[in-house]
C-alpha cells in the first residue's frame, strides 16, 4: 500500500457524521456506538476533507491559520490523516474520482 502523501484526496467515511462545536469535532459513526471528540486541527481536517482537494491544499489552508512551518505542518497533517484513515473516519477517493487513490 502506497503511504499517504500530500497528493492524495480524502473524504469523510461513508458512515461518519460530525459536527464542529467551538472548534472541536464531535464524530459519530453509524456502524458503532462510540462518540469521538477531536481537537481543533482534526476538526479543520474533517471540514477540509471534501473528496476533491488533495491533502496539499489542506496544508495551504492550515498554514494560513497556524504559526508553523510547512514541513512540520505537512508531517503532522499526514500523520493525523493516516490515523483517521486507519480508523475509518477518512477514506481515500480512489481511481478517477480523485487525484490519486492510495
Amino acid at each position: 500500500v502506497e503511504p499517504l502523501g500530500t497528493h492524495h484526496v480524502l473524504r469523510i467515511g461513508g458512515d461518519v457524521r460530525f459536527r464542529v462545536i467551538d472548534g472541536e469535532a464531535v464524530v459519530l459513526r453509524q456502524s458503532a456506538a462510540e462518540v469521538l471528540v477531536m481537537n481543533e486541527v482534526a476538526a479543520r481536517m474533517l471540514e477540509l476533507a471534501d473528496g476533491a482537494a488533495p491533502v496539499a491544499r489542506w496544508v495551504d489552508a492550515l498554514l494560513a491559520e497556524y504559526e508553523t512551518d510547512r514541513p512540520t505542518l505537512e508531517r503532522d497533517v499526514l500523520e493525523l490523516a493516516a490515523t483517521l484513515v486507519s480508523e475509518g473516519i477518512l477514506e481515500p477517493v480512489a481511481g478517477e474520482e480523485g487525484m490519486g487513490g492510495i
Partner: protein
C-alpha cells in the same frame, strides 16, 4: 450474527406489527417524565409483579395504551446459558420501528407518531417478569422523552436542597453508586444511581422554566430506591460531571463538545440508534450550552464532597467565565 439469533428460535418470525393474544385484561399506569405511561394486557400475576416493582398504579388508566403485553410461546426462545455473561438485548433499528430480542422477550417500538411498545413474553408473571417488563419500559421511556427533546442518561442524579441537581455521568464502574453513597451521607437526595431523565425546562411541565431539568426515574442501580426521590419532581439541572477515577480529586471544566459526547455515549439505546442519534446530539449540545460541565476526577473517598460543594457554595473560587477550578490532593 444477525438480529435475534442469540435469543430467538426463529428470528424470521419476529412479529411485524403490534398484534397478538393479550395475557389478560389488567391495566396499569405510572407517571414518568414525558407523561403518563399506560400498560394493557397484563394477567393478574403480571400485574402483581409490576406493582411489587413499581408500586401501585396511578388512577389515570384511561386512554390508549403505551405498552401492550402479549403471549409468546416458550418454544419461540432459545435456552441461553447466562453464566459469566453480561446481558444486553439485541436491538434492530429501522426508521419507523425498533425491534428488541432478549431473554424470554420480544418487543417492538412503533411510531404512530408517538412511540408505542409491544411486548411478547412466555412469562405468566413470575418474579422474572418484572425484570422483563422493566427492560422494555426502560427502552420505551428513553424514546418517549425524545419528542420533548429529553433523554435518559446513565448517571447518578444528586439533588442538593435549594440548589438543584448535578448528574455524575459515566459507564458501569465509573463511580456512580459510590458518589451516590457519598451524597446520601451528606443529606443529599439521590434521584437514581443508574438512570435519570433530562428535559428542557419548558417541556418538563415546570412553570416559568428556562434551562434544563433532571427528573427521577423508577430505575435504580445497586443503591436501590430512595424514598424521597420520587417526590422530587423535575428539578433544575445545574451541572453535568463526567466521572473519572483518579488518585487525586479535582473538578475541571469540560468543553461543550466533550460534555455532549459524554452525555450521548451515556444515553442508553439511543446512542446506538443510527436513525435518531444525530437529533439527540443536537439536543444534548443545546443542554451543554446552558448547563456547565466538568470532569470530576475522584478517588472514591469522602474528600470529593468538599470539591463538589464549590458548585453550590457561593464562596467557591470562580474564573471569569464562571467555571470552578479547584482540587484537593494528598
Amino acid at each position: 450474527m444477525s438480529f435475534g439469533e442469540a435469543f430467538l428460535a426463529t428470528p424470521d418470525l419476529f412479529p411485524g406489527r403490534s398484534a397478538g393474544e393479550a395475557w389478560g385484561e389488567r391495566t396499569f399506569a405510572l407517571r414518568l417524565p414525558g407523561g403518563t405511561c399506560r400498560i394493557a394486557g397484563l394477567s393478574p400475576a403480571q400485574d402483581e409483579a409490576v406493582r411489587l416493582r413499581f408500586g401501585p398504579s396511578i388512577p389515570d388508566r384511561a386512554g390508549p395504551p403505551d405498552l401492550r403485553v402479549f403471549r409468546a410461546a416458550e418454544s419461540d426462545f432459545r435456552a441461553v446459558d447466562t453464566r459469566g455473561w453480561e446481558y444486553a438485548a439485541d436491538l434492530g433499528f429501522a426508521p419507523g420501528s425498533l425491534r428488541v430480542a432478549g431473554l424470554r422477550l420480544m418487543a417492538r417500538l412503533d411510531w404512530s407518531p408517538a412511540p408505542c411498545a409491544s411486548l411478547w413474553t412466555p412469562d405468566a408473571g413470575s418474579a422474572a417478569f418484572a425484570g422483563i417488563f422493566e427492560n422494555v419500559l426502560r427502552l420505551l421511556t428513553a424514546y418517549r422523552l425524545r419528542p420533548a427533546g429529553g433523554a435518559v442518561i446513565h448517571s447518578a442524579g444528586i439533588a442538593i436542597p435549594g440548589w438543584g441537581v448535578f448528574l455524575g455521568v459515566g459507564p458501569s464502574g465509573a463511580g456512580k453508586t459510590t458518589l451516590s453513597l457519598r451524597a446520601r451521607e451528606r443529606g443529599a437526595v439521590v434521584l437514581s444511581d443508574d438512570l435519570n431523565a433530562v428535559l428542557p425546562a419548558a417541556r418538563s411541565g415546570r412553570a416559568g422554566g428556562g434551562g434544563w431539568t433532571a427528573a427521577h426515574l423508577p430505575f435504580t442501580g445497586d443503591l436501590g430506591a430512595s424514598p424521597r426521590a420520587g417526590a422530587a419532581g423535575a428539578l433544575t439541572l445545574r451541572a453535568v460531571l463526567r466521572l473519572e477515577k483518579s488518585e487525586e480529586d479535582a473538578l475541571l471544566p469540560l468543553s461543550r463538545a466533550e460534555a455532549a459526547a459524554t452525555l450521548l455515549a451515556s444515553a442508553p439505546f439511543l446512542n446506538r440508534d443510527p436513525y435518531r442519534r444525530e437529533a439527540l446530539l443536537a439536543d444534548l449540545l443545546e443542554l451543554c450550552g446552558s448547563v456547565p460541565a466538568y470532569a470530576l476526577r475522584f478517588s472514591l473517598g469522602p474528600r470529593v464532597w468538599s470539591i463538589l460543594e464549590t458548585l453550590w457554595n457561593p464562596s467557591a473560587r470562580t474564573t471569569s467565565c464562571g467555571s470552578v477550578e479547584t482540587s484537593a490532593s494528598g
